[in-house]
């Protein structure tokens, strides 16, 4: 099963299991969404539960907030994560601050396909997580595997808070795995993606497969442990800290920019809190700090690649 199929299957189960679940967004019914993540669901659950909307991100996000406040469990789809900026006020000012201000719950999921790698250009390739991570009140999830995308989406639907669920569109059909059904209620927790002893890589999302490849490439020299954060907020600090305490070295790799993102936050936190454990400075690597370009060689020079990661692993191990 692909990452995309796991999403579809999870949405299907969510609609099946809980009458309060609704899908809302552009083309989600008609055609089953731009990436077909909702294919067949309008036919199965009807136009009232799988609702097409006009190109009106602020309105449909606001409506979903109202629905969530009053007892439904809306899942809104942004056609690309780049368009999250069009409903930004609703997300960061209305949804994110509602519980803090009023103690009312806003159980909604904001699904959005994020990331580059296929010449989508500056407006179909962005990784927006840091905008939401620095905004108190939003949970942020970035699954990197087929199993996780199902489990975490199911958990996000059950979460009483607004969850920004960043599907890694570069993984939609690229990776395979099996579908796991679970009723575990917490959107939480990092995962050990590879055990190792010499160095900890903290990563998530579409960067994971690249990191694993790089780890394999350097395995003769360095035994790399890889932590897949999965959930960026709340961040599973304990898992990171335990691993870095063991390995004494840490590299953070993200497809998002390293600057002001998970790269910065995890690097800072590791250096601050594990100061005496570190044998080498933390290193971080993300996309080049410019908009994601369209042209294939330019995009390749922008996203963190296997070689770049591998050499960072080696230089950190050798420090």
């Amino acid at each position: 099963m692909t990452y995309l199929e796991a999403i579809r299957r999870t949405l299907d189960s969510a609609l099946e299991d809980d009458d309060r679940v609704l899908l809302i967004g552009e083309d989600v019914g008609s055609g089953g969404g731009a990436f077909r993540a909702t294919e067949g669901l309008q036919e199965k659950y009807g136009i009232d539960r799988v609702r097409d909307t006009p190109i009106s991100e602020s309105a449909f996000t606001g409506v979903a907030i109202g629905l969530a406040l009053a007892g439904w469990r809306p899942i809104v789809e942004y056609q690309f994560a780049d368009f999250l900026t069009c409903g930004f006020t609703q997300i960061v000012n209305v949804a994110a601050k509602m519980h803090f201000r009023t103690r009312q719950h806003v159980p909604m999921v904001i699904r959005a396909p994020a990331g580059g790698g296929f010449s989508g250009g500056p407006f179909h390739s962005q990784n927006p997580e840091a905008w939401f991570l620095r905004t108190p009140g939003l949970k942020v999830v970035c699954p990197a595997t087929v199993e996780d995308v199902g489990l975490l989406l199911a958990a996000a639907v059950r979460d009483p808070n607004p969850v920004v669920f960043l599907e890694q569109k570069n993984l939609y059909t690229r990776i395979k795995g099996s579908y796991a059904a679970s009723s575990d209620d917490s959107v939480e927790g990092a995962r050990l993606a590879r055990a190792g002893t010499d160095l900890t890589v903290v990563t998530y999302g579409a960067a994971l497969p690249t990191v694993l490849e790089a780890a394999k490439a350097v395995r003769a020299e360095v035994d790399v442990e890889v932590i897949d954060l999965r959930v960026l907020c709340p961040l599973d600090w304990d898992t990171v800290a335990a691993s870095v305490t063991r390995t004494s070295r840490c590299v953070v790799v993200t497809e998002d920019y390293a600057e002001y993102g998970v790269g910065a936050e995890v690097s800072a936190r590791v250096a601050e809190q594990l100061f005496e454990e570190l044998d080498a400075p933390v290193r971080r690597l993300g996309s080049g700090f410019w908009p994601i370009p369209f042209s294939p060689p330019l995009e390749a020079a922008t996203l963190p690649g296997v070689d770049q990661i591998a050499s960072l692993l080696l230089s950190t191990a050798r420090f």
Binding site: P54, A59, G62, G66, A70, Q90, K97, T102, P136, P160
Partner: protein, 336 residues
């Protein structure tokens, strides 16, 4: 009752010709309570005892009160900074308002938010965010939530004449019209967007004329006549709840105080204020009360005295209340 001087007296077809006397008394109570609470708050603010900024709806009380009275119990409103009357009519007590103003514990937002940002679904309101007019779709969502589970409900979303320029206005009306959703947008046409006069933000005569572009109904009403507002809003909400679709009601009124209590509004022409003072919602109401209820000086004094007592008690309660504890802030961010 009509106001002879009004050029914007609302759609005649919707004006009430035969009032309901019980309603007259009720409306008077809420109008006076709203006025008294906001005046008390404003005084406190000007004395430096309310933190932050302070907004009131002086001169626009009839719009908020009339509209709130027209709501059915399961309807939902998204009142803005001129619409204290909605909160009161929907059951927020004067003490709760005063605690809220002062940032005290026991207020509806526990000090997390202040001034006129309050609300909860219990009272059929959603607490506004400052961003205009972002509450429109949120109110609509609540009404749809109820409607879709078989509990008829309409959304009464307030919108300033300035805020109606915001993009979310258009997105929400288009979406609501498309879904034939139970939405009433109440535009408070008070002639000002902060310090800017309407000729500098509004290129057309009537905002409600834009309703036609969505296949929605447009109505105008005298926003200073609580009964006229009540009637047109009740009709619109009923229509919405009955599956008739969206109505934009434009209530012509005037902002009699500055944008906030910090604003002396020296930019507002005194003639305008003079003219609109004559049409003060409480005066308009009283005129009608005299006709309907043979309302006397004595009745008036009694009403004012009763309200004054309530406000004094609320103030005392709020002053005595504690501030919220700061140690639960972090855990307020997420629902458990």
């Amino acid at each position: 009752m009509t106001i002879a001087s009004s050029d914007d007296a609302g759609s005649p077809a919707l004006r009430t010709e035969s009032p309901n006397p019980g309603m007259t008394k009720t409306a008077g109570y809420w109008l006076h309570l709203t006025r008294a609470i906001e005046e008390a708050g404003r005084r406190l603010y000007l004395q430096g005892r309310i933190p932050g900024s302070f907004y009131d709806g002086r001169g626009q009380e009839a719009t908020a009160v009339g509209a709130a009275l027209a709501m059915a119990p399961d309807d939902v409103a998204t009142p803005l900074i001129r619409d204290m009357g909605v909160h009161l009519v929907r059951g927020v007590t004067p003490s709760a308002v005063m605690r809220h103003y002062l940032g005290k514990s026991g207020g509806p937002m526990e000090g997390r938010d202040g001034n006129i940002h309050l609300g909860s679904l219990e009272h059929g309101t959603v607490a506004m965010v400052s961003h205009l007019p972002e509450m429109l779709p949120v109110g609509l969502g609540v009404a749809l939530a109820r409607t879709w589970r078989g509990q008829p409900s309409a959304a009464l979303c307030f919108c300033g004449d300035g805020a109606a320029a915001g993009g979310v206005w258009h997105e929400t009306l288009n979406l609501a019209a498309l879904w034939n959703a139970p939405l009433v947008v109440l535009v408070e046409r008070n002639g000002w967007s902060y310090m800017t006069p309407e000729r500098k933000y509004l290129p057309v005569e009537r905002i409600s004329d834009r309703a036609a572009g969505y296949g929605a109904q447009g109505r105008t009403v005298d926003g200073n006549d609580v009964f006229a507002v009540y009637d047109v809003i009740q009709t619109a909400l009923d229509h919405a709840r009955d599956g008739g679709g969206v109505t934009v009601v434009e209530a012509f009124t005037y902002r009699m105080h500055g944008h906030g209590a910090h604003d002396s509004q020296r930019y507002v022409p005194e003639e305008d204020l003079e003219r609109w003072r004559e049409r003060d919602p409480l005066k308009v109401w009283r005129h009608r009360a005299e006709v309907d209820l043979a309302w006397s000086e004595h009745d008036q004094s009694e009403l004012e005295a009763e309200i004054s007592l309530q406000v004094t008690a609320a103030l005392a309660d709020a002053h005595a209340a504690a501030y919220p504890a700061a140690d639960t802030l972090a855990e307020s961010v997420f629902a458990p």
